[in-house]
């Protein structure tokens, strides 16, 4: 307890500050909804100093006393607006950007330029998704999916076509941490991963870190996706919704107590089951999800957020009930449930704190009934966590972040209950509960050395407590930026990341039912060291910018499975695991235009990824499954007029690697009473599937803007895979018409037209 008090004192005592300068601090907000604006630029003109609002919309900047100061606020969504404030006393208040109606009254400048921001900060390998732009892009069935938009960025390789699984800079699929309001989402996919669990209407900000990880993030090797949901309008009620081909959604937000408290609630449900029922077919599979959030301004310095996500995929196959002996039924429920409570507190104008309590659960139940025989399989992973983060805005040049987080992970895989003859094939097992505690203490400082040099250095100390062992790590992080001139900068980042859990997936396919397991006394934590260099070039004339990055990543203690392992429902997985190492290198190019009638980006990734395990491929290095050499994307949105816009996505990607069967032979079975075909595999991952390329398009037709009317709507008419080209996802041997055989690569989705209708009022 004493130690805790000392620690707390250390964390909070950072807040003492000098009275010689003044501090301008507060939240930056949208004046209409009072929603805070994240990552907006706050520029104090006379002091020539700027800061960004943090992930809670708060900023603080220390400047010398002066009679007057002009503040300029700019964000990607709102036009830059400026305000004059008194400069002889510290100010802590809420600042509001100007809306379109108010713009005539103030000085209007350009929106915040992401390109310019990249020149001025130390961030390397960080991407922020423009949610508004993402919503206008084509998607399968017209269902906007921000995870799929993220997959169009350089450095992020996709898994199977249409899936939400992704691979960042040569990492494995389980090395990506996805956070929604600070709660981990273990399974980000609905409908076998073809749709993400994120309702686009509730997302305010989405940031993806591929490298250059800030010290407050830990727990995964390859990427962190930090999603923040909207807080809810504190002024008036709003309804946003949409009817798509596969699902419909609605989001309602509004004040609970005007200007003090607000709520947001959103729901989605797919209706493939209902539509097929109309056509006389029974496909009893659907998903639904719910998002809810309450935001309470307790005082000027205190805010409370309660946020929750709940979603399930449900399959219910019903057989004949008439004959109890032959009746059949099969069902599964698979879903995430997250809750987070956050309390933000401004200790003083320079010290901001956030305390979060988080609970997350991912579980699936499979039940079957075959006559009088029953089967039930349950698996779950559950986290209880707390984190306390502080941001100390020492002055305009220096900002400290420090904090601590603790998570209790509870894994209960494969609890199997069977009756009668089924238990001969599938043994009952309790599903051993495995519990670990993961902690992380971190400190990080961002410092501007001079007009050209900026540095961001940090240290994080992750630990994992498992039964009989404690794993500790030292995880240094560092970014260094050199501003060549107003429009060019070069940067360097180094980081070491630790991961104390892994997901059991077959090398041939990842399933939503893949299970998470902790490290153990035998299975060591995964470690990745990454170095990245970046060159940023802002082109104000073209309202565009270029990011060129190169990276090298070395990964230790990666997990794979022994050859021939049976993974499904295997509780003795630890005997099957083997550990090895891997490395990847590559370069990424992003040319992006965020403003104007025509916006979008061109992305290109050149990457090389290898693995080496003593027990695999005769101990020789082999290409990783998702070693895709080239990945090119072209994403564009053209605003033809205020009412019409057109968007297109073209992507071309080297095929995923695979290990084909190149021969067969016959061998007697164990009792020599018959023969079996034994396959001969090629060298592991030695073949590449064919290059996949695809064009998707989307038209948006918006309703006329009628003055005084709140209601607006838009139609989305689009098509996925316009020229119906297969994106190979597996290899099959098929018979030709002449009786001979050949290898062929089927694709999952062909030409898919889509139509959707969105509305808000």
């Amino acid at each position: 307890m004493t130690k805790f008090k000392i620690l707390l004192f250390f964390f909070v005592s950072f807040g003492s500050y000098s009275q010689e300068d003044i501090t301008i601090s507060g939240y930056l907000k949208n004046p209409e909804s009072k929603e805070v604006i994240l990552f907006a630029k706050v520029f104090v003109v006379e002091a020539n100093k700027s800061v960004l609002t943090n992930e809670y919309g708060f900023f603080s900047i220390l400047v010398p006393q002066k009679e007057m100061y002009t503040l300029q606020f700019s964000s990607t969504e709102f036009a830059t607006t400026s305000f004059d404030i008194q400069g002889n006393v510290s100010v802590q208040t809420d600042f509001f950007v100007k809306t379109a109606q108010q713009l005539e009254e103030v000085v209007v400048l350009a929106k915040k330029s992401q390109g310019q921001e990249l020149i001025n900060n130390t961030e390397v390998s960080v991407m922020r998704i423009d949610i508004k732009q993402a919503k206008s892009l084509p998607a399968i069935g017209g269902e906007t999916d921000i995870l799929k938009v993220a997959q169009l960025l350089p450095g992020i390789n996709k898994g199977t076509e249409g899936g939400t699984n992704f691979f960042v800079r040569g990492g494995d699929g389980d090395q990506n941490l996805i956070l929604v309001d600070e709660a981990t989402v273990y399974n980000p996919g609905h409908l076998f991963g073809f749709f993400s669990v994120f309702n686009p209407d509730v997302i305010k900000e989405m940031t993806i870190y591929k490298g250059g990880f800030p010290s407050n993030y830990s727990g995964r090797l390859s990427s962190i996706t930090d999603i923040r949901t909207i807080d809810g309008d504190k002024k008036k009620f709003k309804v946003v919704g949409g009817v798509g081909m596969l699902s419909s959604r609605i989001m309602i937000e509004g004040p609970i107590w005007k200007d003090k408290a607000s709520f947001m609630v959103a729901a989605r449900r797919s209706y493939i089951d209902k539509v097929f029922k109309l056509a006389g077919q029974d496909i009893p599979f659907y998903f639904y999800d719910l998002n809810a959030k309450i935001n309470i301004a307790i005082s000027k310095n205190d805010k409370l957020f309660l946020s929750s996500y709940f979603g399930n995929d449900i399959l219910k196959l019903k057989g004949s009930e008439s004959d109890s002996v032959n009746s059949f039924g099969f069902g599964s429920t698979l879903g995430n449930f997250t809750q987070s409570i956050r309390w933000t507190h401004i200790y003083n104008p320079k010290l901001f704190g956030n305390l979060s309590l988080v609970h997350t659960q991912f579980k699936y139940d499979i039940d079957g009934r075959f006559g009088d025989k029953n089967l039930l399989i349950k698996s779950a992973v559950e986290d209880y966590g707390a984190r306390y983060d502080f941001q100390y805005f020492k002055n305009a040049n220096t900002k400290w972040n420090y904090g601590v987080n603790v998570i209790n992970h509870q894994f209960r895989p494969n609890a199997v209950s069977t009756t009668l003859e089924i238990s001969d094939y599938l043994k009952n097992q309790v599903g051993k509960l495995m519990s670990t505690i993961e902690t992380n203490i971190y400190v990080d400082v961002k410092h501007t050395l001079n007009d050209r040099w900026k540095v961001d250095g940090g240290l994080s100390l992750p630990q994992s407590y498992i039964k009989g062992k404690v794993y500790s790590g030292i995880s240094p992080r560092g970014n260094l930026a050199y501003k060549i001139n107003e429009n060019q900068a070069v940067k360097l980042s180094v980081s070491r990341m630790y991961q104390f859990m892994h997901r059991v997936s077959s090398s041939s396919m990842a399933l939503p039912t893949d299970l998470w397991y902790p490290i153990s006394t035998n299975i060591k934590p995964q470690i990745a060291d990454q170095v990245a260099i970046a060159y940023n070039y802002n082109i104000p004339k073209l309202k565009s910018y270029i990011v060129l990055e190169g990276y090298y990543k070395y990964m230790q203690n990666l997990t794979e499975y022994k050859e021939g392992s049976q993974l499904i429902l295997n509780d003795k997985f630890e005997d099957l695991l083997i550990q090895g190492h891997g490395w990847s290198s590559g370069s990424e190019l992003l040319i992006k235009k965020d403003e104007g009638k025509f916006t979008g980006w061109i992305g290109y990734t050149l990457s090389f990824t290898k693995r080496k395990f003593a027990e695999l491929n005769n101990g020789e290095a082999f290409w990783a499954k998702y070693d895709r050499r080239h990945y090119f994307t072209f994403v564009s949105v053209y605003n033809i007029s205020p009412r019409f816009s057109f968007s297109a996505i073209f992507e071309m990607c080297t095929g995923a690697r695979f290990t084909p069967i190149i021969g067969n032979y016959f061998m007697p079975n164990a009792g020599m009473t018959g023969v079996e075909i034994i396959p001969v595999f090629a060298t592991r991952n030695s073949y590449k599937m064919s290059t996949a390329h695809r064009l998707d398009i989307n038209f948006i037709i918006k309703s006329k803007v009628v003055e005084g009317k709140k209601y607006s709507s838009e139609w989305h008419i689009g098509a996925y895979n316009v020229y119906n080209r297969a994106a190979p996802f597996q290899i099959k041997v098929v018979q030709n018409e002449d009786g001979s055989f050949k290898y062929t690569q089927p694709g999952l989705f062909g030409f898919v037209p889509s139509i959707g209708f969105n509305f808000k009022f």
Partner: protein, 284 residues
């Protein structure tokens, strides 16, 4: 209401289109692996070794177990060498070679197999493994109305000081054939395998004892129980094959280099004796 129906109708059409526009699969060239000789040997109790010689084949050949005969290798030279002596095997039927001239297989002695067919030569060496016999094997039959439960209790002693791997097989005599015909025990179809148990001596301490239930047997059927002390590589091979036919495992195929002790080829040069016990269940 009419517009809703119209919308749903259009919706159904579009959904159908969604699932009907399957793109044309893209052909891909995969270089087939080299065709190699495949060897499988079995020592039978009267000191005769049977060597089966086949060839591997391309997945594009369309071969199934129905045309196994076309893969049998005839006219090959097959020899077994031991203690500076060479024994030629004669071809009893296409692809089946028998070493009748072998004097006896001596436990612990090393044997070398050489098979030559055209330009292909495969070789392998293997030590004759000590025979391990059951200490006891005893079936028990519980006759119930409309149902018969058959159990087999057995035990055996592990060979101390070395690592051993065991294979226990349970066979059932095919329906409507009374008794057990030991003379064609190794021929396909004579008996059907109903259960196999793979054991490593790491799993028990000195003495192995088990009572297993055998399915699908009637009170008047006959069973055969065999115990073999097998080579580690063959044990691993059989372990990899366990459960490979199931739907779940088909979805979950991990690439696998199946073990072999044949140089330049596939299969196994097995040098072990099984202990064989026959039981007529009507006696129990």
């Amino acid at each position: 209401m009419k517009s809703v129906k119209y919308f749903l109708f259009v919706f159904s059409i579009v959904i159908s289109a969604l699932f009907s526009c399957r793109p044309k699969p893209i052909d891909i060239e995969v270089k087939p692996g080299d065709v190699k000789l495949v060897v499988f040997t079995q020592v039978i109790p009267n000191n005769v070794m049977i060597v089966t010689l086949t060839r591997s084949f391309s997945p594009l050949s369309g071969n199934t177990s129905d045309n196994l005969s076309s893969l049998l290798v005839s006219g090959a030279t097959v020899q077994i060498k031991s203690n500076n002596q060479t024994y030629d095997c004669f071809e009893s039927s296409p692809g089946i070679y028998i070493s009748v001239a072998t004097s006896s297989f001596v436990e612990g002695q090393e044997y070398e197999l050489i098979a030559i067919s055209g330009t292909d030569t495969v070789t392998s060496t293997s030590k004759m493994l000590p025979k391990v016999d059951f200490t006891t094997v005893l079936p028990s039959v519980e006759k119930n109305i409309g149902d018969t439960n058959v159990f087999v209790s057995f035990n055996f002693n592990d060979i101390a000081s070395v690592s051993n791997w065991y294979l226990v097989n349970f066979y059932k005599k095919q329906a409507n054939v009374g008794g057990i015909d030991g003379s064609n025990y190794f021929q396909n179809g004579s008996n059907s395998l109903i259960r196999s148990i793979l054991l490593s001596d790491k799993e028990f301490n000195g003495v192995y004892h088990a009572k297993v239930e055998l399915d699908s047997l009637k009170w008047n059927d006959s069973i055969v129980v065999t115990l073999s002390n097998i080579d580690e590589k063959y044990f691993n091979f059989l372990g990899f094959r366990e459960g490979k036919g199931g739907v779940l495992s088909q979805m979950n195929i991990e690439p696998l280099s199946y073990p072999t002790n044949i140089k330049n080829g596939y299969g196994f040069f097995n040098t072990f004796y099984p202990d064989i016990k026959f039981f007529d269940l009507s006696q129990y």
